[in-house]
């Protein structure tokens, strides 16, 4: 028996890849148009607020090699981005790409770690509630998860900091200091858990997983497998676990990235969320453009992953 149909996967993935490219192109256009329409002129800001007359401006653009039309500027920007060049931060004067790389690793750790936490909590909870829907655990966990999802991330973050640093004295107060402190790696777990549990989507995720698992457990092929004493896990894991989990990762990626902005702010976490916040504060266009594009790429990757799993598990999807 073939576990996964890789041949049909490749075919569908090419289509998906094309769709992803089309979407990212659209995203880049949206990002560019929003900033193009913005009042104020970054060029004037560069000159310390002095505005140039039309002819002087054209001459300056000519000398610097900046295209004059909006689509010329757009194409130049996309061309540079495709070469990995996101321009130069107007705040720090450093290339944006370098800033993205250092912050990106921290944010990646935070977001992927939080996904692990979310799923690590949600899967067992949902599975138990699906198998024993009337148990007290299933009922109380539904209520608990609702309340957790309504907690504002920023406030919960302060509470965690207070209890773990002040009351329990487990972690150092400041992160990102040069001297290595005892337990400082533990401190990194706090924001990961905060984002994993307090991103506001936990109740939706648990409910979705529970319904999916309960549905699959009622399917006839699962009943047959149970009746003949075959391994339930082997027959049901694809539909009851793999598919819904990849669906959740794809659908909740934007939430996690958005939540990371807040969590990084609370914890002074040196990631892209803080960089984005600073860029919004300073109207640092190259940086915020790059981060928005990067976020969109990550979201599309999550969606791509889900499609891969979907087609691999369900080869019929490739014959549409």
């Amino acid at each position: 028996m073939k576990r996964f149909a890789w041949g049909s996967v490749a075919k569908v993935l090419w289509q998906e890849l094309a769709a992803t490219a089309a979407l990212l192109l659209g995203v880049s256009l949206v990002v560019f148009v929003i900033l193009y329409l913005a009042p104020g002129d970054p060029f004037a800001a560069l000159l310390g607020g002095r505005s140039l007359s039309g002819a002087e401006r054209d001459a300056a653009f000519e000398a610097l090699g900046i295209p004059k039309t909006w689509y010329g500027q757009y194409l130049a920007w996309v061309g540079n981005v495709l070469h990995g060049d996101f321009g130069i931060s107007t705040r720090s004067g450093q290339p944006v790409t370098a800033e993205l790389l250092s912050g990106g690793a921290n944010t990646l750790f935070l977001t992927l770690g939080s996904l692990v936490v979310t799923l690590g909590v949600a899967i067992p909870m949902a599975a138990y509630a699906a198998i024993r829907p009337t148990s007290w655990f299933a009922r109380s966990s539904t209520v608990l998860v609702y309340v957790v999802s309504a907690l504002p991330t920023f406030w919960l973050g302060y509470m965690l900091i207070y209890f773990f640093t002040r009351k329990l004295g487990l972690f150092p107060i400041l992160s990102g200091t040069d001297e290595s402190q005892e337990h400082s790696w533990l401190y990194a777990l706090l924001p990961v858990f905060l984002l994993g549990l307090g991103n506001g989507a936990l109740s939706e995720i648990v409910r979705y997983l529970r319904e999916e698992i309960a549905r699959v457990m009622g399917e006839e092929y699962v009943r047959t497998a149970r009746a003949k004493g075959a391994s339930l896990w082997r027959h049901a894991y694809k539909e009851a676990l793999l598919l819904p989990v990849s669906q959740i990762i794809a659908a909740k990626m934007p939430f996690v990235l958005g939540g990371a902005i807040i969590v990084e702010q609370v914890f002074n976490w040196p990631g892209l969320g803080r960089v984005a916040w600073q860029a919004a504060q300073d109207r640092d266009y190259p940086v915020i453009m790059a981060i928005t594009l990067l976020a969109a790429i990550v979201v599309r990757l999550g969606s791509f992953l889900h499609r891969t799993v979907y087609v691999a598990v369900n080869p019929r999807a490739s014959h549409q």
Partner: protein, 298 residues
Amino acid sequence: MKMNYRQEVDTVNEYSQLSAWKSARLGDRLSVIYGLIVVLVVVVSYVLGAFKWLPHDPEAMDLDAMMAGPLTDGYLLGTDYMGRDILTRLILGIQAYFLPGLLAVGIALGLGSLLGVLAGYRGGRAETAVTYFSNLIDSLPRMVLMLLVIAAFRPNIYTIMIVFAITTAPTVGMLVKGKVMMLKERNFIESAVALGLSPAAIIFKHILWYNCRALLLIQATIGMAEAVLLETSLSYLGFGVQEPTPSWGNMVQAGANYLMQGNFWPSTAPAIAIIFTVLGFHLLGDGLNNIFEWKQSR
């Protein structure tokens, strides 16, 4: 077979709403009741704030009673780090999101219905375009897009909420689309077409009003919860409502400076307000969804 017949009746019968309520689970009914209470409290507080019927002046500082706990003399919910009445500021904080949120929800539902009907009823190229638009919006994390818009326009809360509405509309649109595609196959729409009813009457009356209003109401409550979270988050980040005008978000932020000294209350009181409100809107939406939508689709 009997079940099928009942479902058929449910979706067209005007009394179906009542019977669905009677046959609903206790948990769903409690959720809806709790949600309605929250909505009532929010609306009443909004009116109180709009007419300035407040227990105290929101910016008057009582230097003798700074960071007083709840139930202190004269201050029902205590005071913040500048000695300002927390209850008053909580009531006024509703001004920050209530009208902008309603506006956002209205636009999102209108635009979403339009997109959904366009994709579901027309199909073809319109559907491709709407799906592309929906995927495009879904690719941009809302918070990141907000920071981009803030960097570009320095917008006020109404502009922010319009952007929020545009990002929410595709979600509503996709749900409406699914509903429309399902309804299009049904006999009563086919007979309406055969009877020569105008497309406007079919779409607005028979599809949107008779069959999508529950769905739209549910989306409205969920949208309101998200609007509260968005406004408070942005105010927390310093991009929304600015001190001394109160918002639940900037109240948490301002109070947090004193949290490390063990003064929980000034930042916890607005947090509790956020929790109860968001929970209320979510439970109302999910409760209504379980009662009116989920049963039908089974």
